[in-house]
Subunit: 289 residues, 4 copies
């Protein structure tokens, strides 16, 4: 949240071995960069190493991206390291998909318009017309793309076109109540976040608040996860929870759940756009603030 | 937590209909009782009414239990009301069953010896000898009843004998790592509380912390529930939860989980002995403080 | 959250004595009302009794308010009981006061326009012009009433006029960054809720997030309280909290705090409009859902 | 919680400047150490840098402490860096001071005897005789050192003697209900942790649960902090909190608070013995797991 105009973020991961920290920090030091923040994790279970460093030039010199890539790539390849560089000033392009429930959309739009989430929203896509006014008030194009069993491939093609045209960095399913096709899931792998209104793996599938009510739980929660072709089994990013009791009928659970969904989803989106998440196999490493 | 020597608790439930509150409060008033605390719940989903009232005599007159039963029963039967009366001063007899993990046992024993839980513990039963010293230091008989596939019926008979001999009001499975037979579960129906180290219905069955680790959850929790013959499907009484992240290996989840288990189980036990729980069909109504 | 068209709420309080529950429940029963929900509290410290009952007619008969008042008043006066009757269907008129920070306003407006909070908002008053567009989009009159040391009495007179003209049941200071005069506080006693962005009594006064930063706290929170003429000493209604660490600068505390403020304030407003709060001396009794 | 027999922890801090990360990681790499875990924080407010690295030898070579100190000191001094090296296998010697309340002591002893906290407890000191049996059962020497206004200097001298004789690394005031003299506080600076039963800075001083009750708070909490000569103003390490309502009298707050105190204090002790805390001016940097 400091001045980000000059700040960059490098994220990298590779098989565990000695020197993985040094290879990154050394290069940054040699180039005269100042390290603001460093997070790393060495997963001793799968022997994999993850690092995220936020840094800035220590002087007035302009950042030479091409040089950085050329020089650092050499060092990284010796470690089989995959890496990415991003500018903190870059505003991620986020396409939001939604159906009729507007609480998550409304929350994301508020954070967008106040700058709490430093994002651009090139498009809002919905299978219903209901939320167009909200989109319009924020000056965001709204695409009403109805869907039926028969038109699904066609509709998904349209959705995909919009995602591509808007050069979206991230797709957020903010209570989009349609199951994406496997093909679509694969295209969006690691680039789409869904909010599911239960504490996964509890209450997968449809109507989780009704399922929770029937089971008589004393906690209600929500889970933000990357979309995968195995429904509600995608890698978990964040989870939120609140206490409830016997007096909560499904609509009461849903009401309390709405606040949890908003907080849980926006936290996941923030972590993603700040490059704090590594998706590795079926799990995530999240260097949350 | 006030002076309980004179305080009584009436709990009652019946099909919903007008007058269910009045039939109880009116009688208490007529008999000169003073109501300290009243909780009720009218479940509009199953049309069932639940009430719990804590009251005390308003004068020096001794409490005439027989009279109360006779007089109130008449009134209650007009409502098909099932009811129970208990003295707040009565200390419930709680038999604790345990295997090798001692954190829940230790926690319950601490609350027992300091009076935080107003209970008696006539027996601790274990399929292992390990925790005898802890039991002895608290002056509580420890029954080491090993179990194998072949000896299970016999062992359970011994367990049942101890439960009966000690006139136990409640059996607490404080990390007793054996599945009870269906027969035993039925005998203990509504009188046995188990702590499961996950947020049910997530991660039923064996080694929930390993399951949670594999799924990459961002919350770890525990569930206290009444024992039923459908494993880990018993009515939930209380649940607890804490945040975790990618750096938690199963043993770290277990370490964090231990504190949650203790708090969640002791809360359930407290609610049970204070007659704050109604077990209705597959769910509970809990008038928690 | 059930059908409220026929539901009423009675709230009452009086000095503690036997029969306080019975006098209310008996009358409701005699009149053929059905009790949906009952909460009571007998404060043994100050010997005062509080009760809230939600009830509905058990038949098609129209509710005769005048009769109720006449008949019940007689009974209540024998207990020195102060009481109020309200229809669940009535939408409280809430005037919102705000300065430049819009997060609480935005949250309240969302809950208003979706019906999550069953209120009307006849006016939004601000000492700044900034939030007019937001008000307009919701079709709510926005009164820009600037304030300076010299114009304070005059400005407060205008505010008071709007409150009276709109027949406001409640005034919500949703980050209104002006200290009200004692006179204004007294006029609004029990009818105005403020959100303070700290865990009172910690960090009273100005810039609480900076105070919290300087003290190095590990939790950040917010407090909703009734306005009183003793600044930040008003009766507390609800408090919320989240964990933070050393890496949170004041603006990070403020960012995290915004979510807590919204949740804490909306919870207080909900409790107030549902008649769940009793203001007694310097404290509140809150029968929260 | 992995095998710690070979693991070491280096903690270091210095004024912020480029190269502070590199100077540490580079040396570790050159010496063939493997980095398990790295945390750092660059405080842009006071321009100070903090780093903690957990590492282990990458081969069978024994750790040459003298060599490390000589070589690294040279590098560190160029950065004005203060640093410390510790073996993860070392068990910190913790002296516990207590009065009559035993919940925190009991909790710490449980974690000690199960190895959850890898500590030694050479002495328990109390101004009351009450908790001797508990100490004895754990085989720990118990020093009953009564205190009065007149004998305070003398008693503190005895306390100090025990702390020195036992070579204590840490003193934990586990509800020791005496105010230490300024002299004693200074001797113990950075080496003594106190648990205060409120959310500081709210409710400093005596009887915080009574203060909290009088103020009508809706949250109750506890604060673990380093002891300083400014009472209840010491640097905060950890804070815990739970929701309460109007029905909590002071003894109910105390009962709920006991659990919070135990969790908050043990978390602070764990962070301290794992060298996760930097005490800087009046605040702490805590690299908590």
């Amino acid at each position: 949240m400091s001045d980000t105009s000059q700040t960059h973020i490098i994220t990298a991961h590779c098989p565990s071995q000695p020197g993985t920290v040094d290879v990154v920090t050394r290069y940054l030091y040699q180039q005269g960069f100042y390290i603001n923040e460093i997070h790393s994790f060495d997963d001793t279970d799968v022997n994999h190493f993850f690092i995220r460093i936020q840094f800035r030039p220590n002087n007035e010199q302009p950042f030479d991206l091409a040089l950085f890539e050329r020089e650092f790539n050499e060092r990284a390849s010796a470690f089989n390291m995959q890496w990415q560089l991003a500018s903190s000033a870059y505003k991620a392009k986020v396409v939001i998909m939604v159906s009729k429930h507007d609480h998550c959309l409304n929350d994301l739009l508020y954070r967008y318009r106040t700058g709490d989430l430093a994002i651009e929203i090139p498009a809002i896509i919905s299978n219903h017309p209901d939320l167009e006014a909200l989109a319009k008030w924020h000056g965001i194009p709204y695409y009403h793309l109805p869907i039926s069993k028969d038109t699904k491939p066609e509709q998904e093609a349209q959705v995909w076109q919009i995602i591509q045209d808007s050069k979206a960095d991230l797709v957020v399913l903010a209570r989009y109540m349609q199951v994406l096709s496997n093909e679509m899931c694969q295209k969006l792998s690691g680039k789409a976040i869904n909010i599911h209104h239960s504490l996964l793996p509890g209450f997968k599938g449809a109507r989780p608040y009704y399922q929770a009510y029937d089971r008589g739980v004393k906690l209600v929660g929500a889970t933000a996860h990357y979309v995968s072709d195995d429904l509600d089994e995608g890698p978990i990013i964040s989870q939120g929870v609140e206490t409830v009791d016997h007096s909560y009928y499904p609509k009461d659970l849903a009401a309390k759940g709405r606040d949890i969904e908003c907080l849980t989803l926006s936290r996941a989106v923030r972590c993603h756009i700040e490059h704090r998440i590594f998706l590795h196999q079926k799990k995530t490493v999240v260097f949350a603030k």
